[in-house]
């Protein structure tokens, strides 16, 4: 396998982009990424997206977006793995470059979620779950996470308020990210008083519905050398995908993200590192409970202790394992199919010293993890600054 480098990044401000359509949002991330990489053509474009068909009536995003950004003619297709679609597209790009098929690949994640009314978006998001045996019961995606959170609180005797540290950290970090949807800090008091949406999940446990796109340009080593933009080189040291059942009720232990454990074990082994070597971790905090379960399944905390890590301040920029360093899904925002690419863009910013006041000191190894559904597809990437 050939080494794969990230030679350009681009992203849009996350939020309600009423004036921009799906294709325009994709354009707004891809063109800056191409400019950043100083390329005019690529061998292929892989687009991560979950809900374009359901929410905008548009499928066939590969050709649509390739044409729209001036790349008519190249290989292009959409990659879908629910909320893990962004990292799934990155995985396809990685395979293409590492396998010697392509030399320069653009990977974009894009989602347009605000053209529809709430109940339609809610039903769309439930498509990440088992349609016949979860969604058919009228269970929303938020409710599925609420079921996990309630059980977690019961089994490990964790009060709801303790999860507030995840939300406070995410908002604190978003305040230093000009691309974040919610750049306003919140307090534990804000968290405690937030409106309940599916008890015990309140508004501050949950990531927002929003629009956004992010893009990266991948290159083989010779191309990375040819198109070097002067910044520190960032290599993808690991890329791994694992799966579990779509339905929570089909898992042997609902409070254990088996696919996170499987994919991170593969990733640690590819990169030749252990969790202790990771300088920061862009995890999938779609809900605070997912942040806790992710810290545990990836080896950063013992079972039932993920929330404790947040309480003890270990997840902040200065902590032992900084998470959501640019706001995470909670406060940067979670345009579902774009999220996995945002995570990687932010990891590159950290490794290249571009994170501003959110800069993790001495950041050399960053891990990103994108989750499809309530844990059915989990994709881990490890990035190394050289």
């Amino acid at each position: 396998m050939r080494p794969v480098y990230i030679i350009g990044i681009g992203q849009t401000v996350v939020g309600e982009q009423w004036e921009r359509s799906l294709r325009h949002i994709a354009h707004d991330a891809i063109i800056p990424a191409m400019r950043d990489a100083q390329i005019e053509r690529a061998d292929a474009l892989y687009v991560g997206n979950m809900l374009s068909g359901e929410l905008t009536g548009q499928e066939h995003l590969g050709a649509l977006i390739a044409d729209f950004v001036g790349l008519r003619g190249i290989e292009a297709m959409k990659v879908e793995a629910a909320c893990g679609s962004g990292a799934a597209a990155l995985r396809m790009g990685y395979i293409a470059v590492a396998g010697g098929i392509h030399d320069v690949v653009i990977v974009a994640g894009v989602e347009k979620m605000t053209d529809t009314v709430g109940s339609v978006t809610t039903a769309g998001l439930a498509m990440a779950a088992d349609q016949e045996y979860e969604a058919a019961e009228g269970v929303s995606f938020v409710a599925l996470n609420a079921l996990l959170m309630r059980r977690y609180m019961y089994e490990y005797n964790v009060p709801h308020a303790a999860f507030g540290y995840f939300a406070v950290n995410a908002h604190h970090n978003a305040a230093g990210n000009p691309y974040a949807m919610f750049p306003e800090p919140i307090t534990l008091d804000t968290y405690r008083k937030a409106a309940m949406i599916a008890d015990p999940i309140n508004l501050m446990d949950s990531s927002p519905i929003c629009d956004g796109a992010a893009a990266v340009v991948l290159a083989s080593e010779p191309m990375a050398r040819a198109f070097h933009n002067g910044r520190r080189r960032v290599r993808i040291a690991a890329s791994a995908v694992a799966t579990d059942s779509l339905a929570i009720h089909d898992r042997r232990d609902p409070l254990w993200l088996e696919a996170a454990w499987l994919s991170s074990q593969k990733a640690y082994s590819q990169a030749g590192i252990s969790p202790a070597d990771v300088d920061f971790f862009e995890l999938h905090d779609a809900f605070t409970i997912m942040a806790a379960l992710s810290l545990e399944a990836n080896g950063f905390a013992e079972r039932g202790r993920g929330v404790r890590l947040a309480e003890e301040g270990e997840i902040t920029i200065e902590g032992r394992i900084p998470i959501a360093t640019m706001g995470g899904l909670k406060a940067r925002g979670h345009p579902v199919g774009a999220t996995g690419v945002y995570q990687v863009v932010e990891a590159v910013q950290q490794l290249q010293g571009l994170a501003g006041r959110n800069q993790v000191h001495d950041a050399n190894i960053g891990m990103t993890q994108n989750i499809g559904g309530s844990g059915a597809t989990i994709i881990t990437h490890i990035l190394v600054g050289e």
């Binding site: 709430g118 109940s119 339609v120 809610t122 039903a123 439930a126 016949e132 045996y133 979860e134 969604a135 058919a136 019961e137 009228g138 269970v139 929303s140 938020v142 409710a143 599925l144 609420a146 079921l147 996990l148 309630r150 059980r151 019961y154 309940m196 949406i197 599916a198 008890d199 015990p200 999940i201 059942s245 339905a247 929570i248 009720h249 089909d250 609902p254």
Partner: protein, 137 residues
Amino acid sequence: MTVARTWRTRRQRYSLVGERCDHCHNAIFPPRDVCPYCAEPAQTQMALSGRGTVYSYTTVYDAPAGFGEFAPYPVALVKLEEGPMVTAQLTDVSPEEVTIGMPVEMVTRKIQEQGEEGVIIYNYKFRPQLQRQARAA
């Protein structure tokens, strides 16, 4: 849920018919034809008792399209006596009365109404067990 899909899964929805694996003997619900425990074929039908306990629960306020008229409604993960877990709505109980570990039993209830021209969809829901003491005696 389309008419065809509802019809296709009627044995599961109306009488909790799952499977038993002939190799490792685990009970399986919903039926899936390949045992999730040992990966061997599993197509022997088995009706589950419908009795179980609440593993976790919450309330849906912002319902997905098609369920809005019934919101808010309590939902739960129910651990069935035979082993499998099932996601379902709770009924005949107010959300504040639900607890983890509460014994529940399956009943057939209306879950969706698709307007005057559409079909009414019935499904399993779970309610607090009625004859709990009688059985224990």
